[in-house]
Structures are given as C-alpha cells and as structure tokens.
C-alpha cells in the first residue's frame, strides 16, 4: 500500500476541502443573487417609498411631468390579466394533463407531450409579436364587437365588456398570458398525475369507476395540494411575464372597469418606461414597482414549491 502515504492522504484531504468549499460557495451564490436582487430593488425604490409612503400602492396618479407616481393601475392590470390567464389556463391545462396520463393512446403521449413543452419554449417576445400583429387585430375584428354587442348590454357585468374594438387591452393580454401559462401548468400537472400510485387507480377501476370518476374521486383528491402548487407556479409566471404583455396591453395609465380597454402591468410599465425615465424619482418609482412584483412572485412561487414538495415527499423522492 505505497500509494497511501500520509502525505498523499493529507493532500487529498486538502483537495477535498477545497472542492467542498468551491461547490458550497457556488450554492451560496444562488442565495446571494436572490437576496441581492431583493435588496437592490428595495434600495433603488426607497426614494419612491419615502416620497409617497403607502400612497404609492393606493394612488392611481402616474404623472411624469409633475412627478407624481402611484402604482394602483399597474398593480390592477397585473392582477386582472393574470386572473384572466388562470381562468383560461387552469381547466385547459388539467384537461391536457388528463389526456396525457389517462386518455391518449400510449404512442401519441410522447409527441404531444413534446409539443406542449415546445409551446413553453417559444420565447415570450414571439408571443408578443404574434399578439400585436395577428391576435389583437383578430380580437378587434371579431371578439371585441361581439362581446360589446352581447354581454355589454347586460346589467351588472355590462361595463366589464364595453369598450372600443381596438383589440389592445386587458382581455387580449390575459388570453395571450393564458396561452403562455398553459404548458407550465400542464407539464407539472401531468407529472403530478403520474405520481399517483397505480394501485389506487386500479382499485377504483376494478370497482367499476369510469375515467371521470377515477379523476374526480381518486386522482384529484390525492393530488389536490400539488395541483394548487402547479396553478400557483403558473400564476407566478403570469404575474412576472413581461414581453408578451407589453406588446398587447397598450401602456395606458388609466383605471378602467372594462376588460376591452388598454391598461398597464408592472412588468410592462418597467419595460416601456425605464429607459425613458429621466428623473431620480421616476426611476425610483419603477424600481419600487419591480420590488413589489418581486416580493409578490416570491411569495406565490414559494407557496407553489411548498405545495409541490408535499407530494414529492409522499412519493418518496429525495428532493
């Protein structure tokens, strides 16, 4: 055993320590990036928070000339478009997940699964361009007038669907966001459905359950928290999505009931205005918006991760 002289052993111990240190340092870096981003946004936005206080969140003024900035319109636009996105994406994604796990013939699952993943891979700027040049004109020509003429006349919900048929607005942005979010929710939901222990499903089938009954009485109850996690993951994506929304939202700082009216979102306001922001306060207000967005998405994504962790623990995975 000449190879194991003490010198070599201590040298390899030192190398081991060094290797450990480097990898642990890289792991710390992930935390540093996250923490420094939050700190930097808080620091950059402090001027706006100091100047306007809580009013920054509740005011709808966005007056560049007079230097008055309130975030209510972008916050409202972000929440409304994300809500529309989820209303569309959640049922569709669950349908796709069900199709890919239980309904489709085995040979077709792979290709369709890949197609759905490709939908997630298309850069968001392509969605935005398609939205601006193709989908918005389509909405203006066909969907907006239809909604205005039918639902627009109804009591109570009428004002939500009345407006000029310009195609640019919260409804269009919400639909484009929904299409973008579908593959994220569907992919996670498919994995979650696949994680249901086969004996559970098989027993239900043996008792004579239909596919729908297996889904609604076995699969969904078993995976409930993880499915909510998947939906939250989609919500996190929708809240922070920038390019797709910037193209079709219209960059208007007006608070409007109608979904057909242009509006703004946090990410779109930053993308549109940051390079033009010529005063410290203006820039600080936009960074303060980014801080709010970061905090909200952090909470939403953490909640999503916690709910998804539960099922992977139950499923015996190590991470």
């Amino acid at each position: 055993m000449t190879a194991f002289t003490p010198v070599i052993r201590s040298r390899s111990a030192a190398a081991d320590r060094a290797f450990n240190l480097v990898t642990a340092g890289a792991a710390w870096l992930v935390l540093v990036v996250l923490g420094a981003t939050a700190a930097s946004m808080a620091w950059g936005g402090r001027l706006a928070f100091q100047t306007f206080g809580l009013g920054f969140i509740t005011s709808q003024d966005w007056d560049v000339v007079q230097g008055k900035f309130g975030a209510l319109v972008p916050i409202y636009g972000t929440l409304v478009t994300s809500a529309i996105a989820l209303v569309i994406a959640v049922p569709i994604s669950l349908g796709i997940a069900l199709f890919l796990t239980d309904i489709a013939p085995r040979w077709i699952r792979g290709p369709i699964g890949i197609a759905v993943e490709l939908l997630a891979a298309i850069p968001s700027i392509i969605y935005g361009m398609w939205g601006l040049f193709i989908f918005a004109p389509f909405m203006a020509a066909h969907v907006d007038p239809l909604l205005s003429d039918t639902l627009g006349g109804w009591p109570l919900i009428g004002p939500i669907f009345t407006g000029p048929p310009i195609g640019i607005g919260m409804l269009t942005a919400g639909i484009v966001l929904g299409i973008m979010v579908i593959p994220f929710i569907a992919a996670v939901a498919r994995d979650v459905f696949n994680a249901v222990p086969p004996p559970l499903k098989e027993s239900a089938i043996a008792l004579g359950s239909t596919r729908w009954e297996v889904l609604s009485r076995v699969t969904l109850p078993y995976t409930r928290s993880a499915i909510i996690g998947a939906i939250f993951l989609g919500l996190g994506r929708a809240l922070g999505e920038t390019m797709a929304v910037t193209f079709v939202l219209g960059n208007a700082h007006d608070l409007s009931m109608s979904l057909l009216m242009p509006s703004n979102s946090i990410a779109a306001a930053i993308a549109n205005e940051f390079t033009e922001a010529d005063t410290e306060l203006y820039r600080s207000a936009l960074i303060a918006l980014a801080f709010l967005l970061f905090v909200v998405t952090f909470i939403v994504l953490s909640a999503a991760k916690l709910m998804l962790l539960r099922i992977s623990r139950a499923h015996g995975r190590t991470h």
Binding site: F4, S12, A15, D16, F19, T23, A24, A26, A27, L29, V30, L31, V33, L34, T37, S40, M41, G44, P91, I92, S93, G95, I96, F99, L100, I103, I112, I114, A115, L118, L119, I122, P123, S124, I125, I126, G128, M129, W130, F133, I134, T210, R211, W212, L215, L239, G240, T242, M243, F247, A267, I270, T275, L286, I287, L293, T297, L301, K305, H319
Partner: protein, 279 residues
C-alpha cells in the same frame, strides 16, 4: 339503475371530449403561432439578413450585428453561468446532500428559476450599468448568466442524482478521494444530462428580452466591443416590431423566425439526443 349508468357514461364521455378538446386547443395555438412566424418570416429572409447591419428607418438592411451580439453574450453567459451552476448543483446532489444549506438553496433555486426576468435586468442595471455609467454587453451577459444559473443548478443536481449509488460506493471502496469521485467518475456518468441542461438553458436565454432592455440595450451599428451598448436579436425584434416602419417590421419577423427556429430546433435536438442516450 339504467338511468344512473347512462348518466355516468355521459359524464365520462364529456370528460373525455373535454380533455381531448383541451389538448387540441393547446396545440392549436402552437401551430397558429408557428404558422404566422413562418409565413411572415420566410418572405423577409434573404442573404442580406446575415451580411448587413441593422438599417436606419425606411431602408433595407440585415441583422448581422444583432446576431453577433446575441451570440457573444450567450457565449459569455454560458462561460460564467454554467460552471457556477454545475458547482452549485454538485453541492446540492453530492457534497452537501443532506445539509440544511442544500435544502434551502434547492428550494430558493426553484423560486429563482421562475422569478420575473425583468427584475433580474433591473438588478444588473443597478449593479453594473449604474455604477459603470453606461450600458454594456458585459452587463447583458451577466444578466443572461443569472437567468441561466438556476436552470443549470436544477438540471445538474438532477443529473447527478440519477447516477446510481453503487458507482459512488465502488469508487469509495477503492479509496478514491471524494473530490476525485465527483470530478472523474460522477461527472463522466452524468455528462450527457448536464450538457442537456446547459443547452436547454441556452435555448431559454437566447429568447430572453426583458433582462437585456436595460443592460445591453441596443446598438444600430457594428460593435465588436462588449464594453458598450451591444445589438442583440430580442431587443432589435422588440424595438422594430413596436416601430411604425414596414421595413423594420419585416426585419423583426425575419429575426423572430430565426430565433424561433433556433430555440425550437435546439430543444428538439437536445430532447431526442437525451432520449436516445438514456435508452
């Protein structure tokens, strides 16, 4: 009795139709978007696209400087982000496997993975652009590296976990020091999966626009230097698509088509290769 059976069958049929319809609905958008990009982009693609610079409003030109800027920033981002990501992934999967730090990092890494990329762009603006006083290709590369980092951390972590424990045990039994086991055995075994992760990360950052808006900005002219504003495909597409000029719209569509083909092509190739090697 019979009525209940029929109702159950009907509900089931409805669920079947809904799930199939939902899948068709999802694929419908994929094809619509691809169809549009192909139709609008093909007409705008010509030789000049790859040999000329971005033009001033109202004249012909190409995207050469944008392609070059994007390529060099992606390259730099991979040089910065991939080694750090693999190192952090190694910590999560190997050296810190059961440590508290590893579980915290693993959790927050997934949050960072989905965090809004525009906020990363603003962070790099505050960090580099504001302190150095000007937009630069370096800042753009750092922003892209920050987007790449969590992707590589996650995929290399998973790649290393897929290596069977028997391999580690066999290596330890031979008395090989831990770092050598990782560097010379585990990396070799997980190489394909790690590379797959990096390439998927490249596909992701190639289309990222938001983090480049306030870092690399854009540059209408040829610039080989990373020290100043640097043209890049996504921001050119954004600015040209939002402009009122038809020539610029055409160029934006051509850029969009090249970008989409690159991203989807890379995705498909990597997935097919990964599947083949796992068989």
């Amino acid at each position: 009795m019979r009525a209940i059976l029929i109702r159950r069958r009907l509900v089931d049929l409805f669920a079947f139709l809904f799930a199939s319809g939902a899948t068709l609905f999802g694929l419908f958008w994929l094809f619509w978007i691809l169809w549009t990009t192909l139709g609008q982009g093909l007409g705008a693609i010509n030789f000049g696209l790859f040999t000329q610079m971005t033009p001033p409003p109202g004249s012909q030109g190409g995207l050469l400087n944008a392609f070059y800027g994007s390529a060099i920033m992606i390259f730099l981002a991979v040089i910065i982000g991939a080694p750090l990501g693999v190192a952090a992934g190694t910590y999560l999967a190997e050296h810190g496997r059961h440590s508290r730090l590893a579980s915290i990092v693993s959790f927050l890494n997934d949050v960072l993975l989905s965090a809004p990329s525009i906020v990363i762009g603003l962070f790099v603006y505050e960090l580099i652009v504001r302190t150095s006083g000007h937009f630069s290709g370096y800042a753009g590369a750092v922003a892209l590296a920050m987007i790449l980092l969590p992707i590589v951390v996650r995929t290399s972590d998973e790649a290393l976990r897929l290596v069977p424990d028997q391999m580690r045990e066999a290596a330890f039994a031979l008395g090989i020091p831990r770092w050598r086991v990782t560097a010379q055995i585990l990396y070799k075994a997980a190489m394909t999966a790690i590379l797959t992760g990096v390439l998927l990360g490249v596909a992701r950052i190639a289309g990222e626009t938001a983090p480049l808006l306030f870092t690399a900005l854009n540059n209408q002219f040829w610039s080989g230097s990373l020290g100043g504003p640097l043209a890049n495909v996504p921001v050119v597409i954004f600015q040209y698509a939002m402009s009122p000029y038809d020539e610029w719209h055409e160029l934006a569509w051509a850029g969009a088509l090249v970008l989409t083909l690159f991203v989807l092509g890379l995705n498909l190739t990597v997935r097919i290769l990964a599947k083949r090697s796992s068989k």
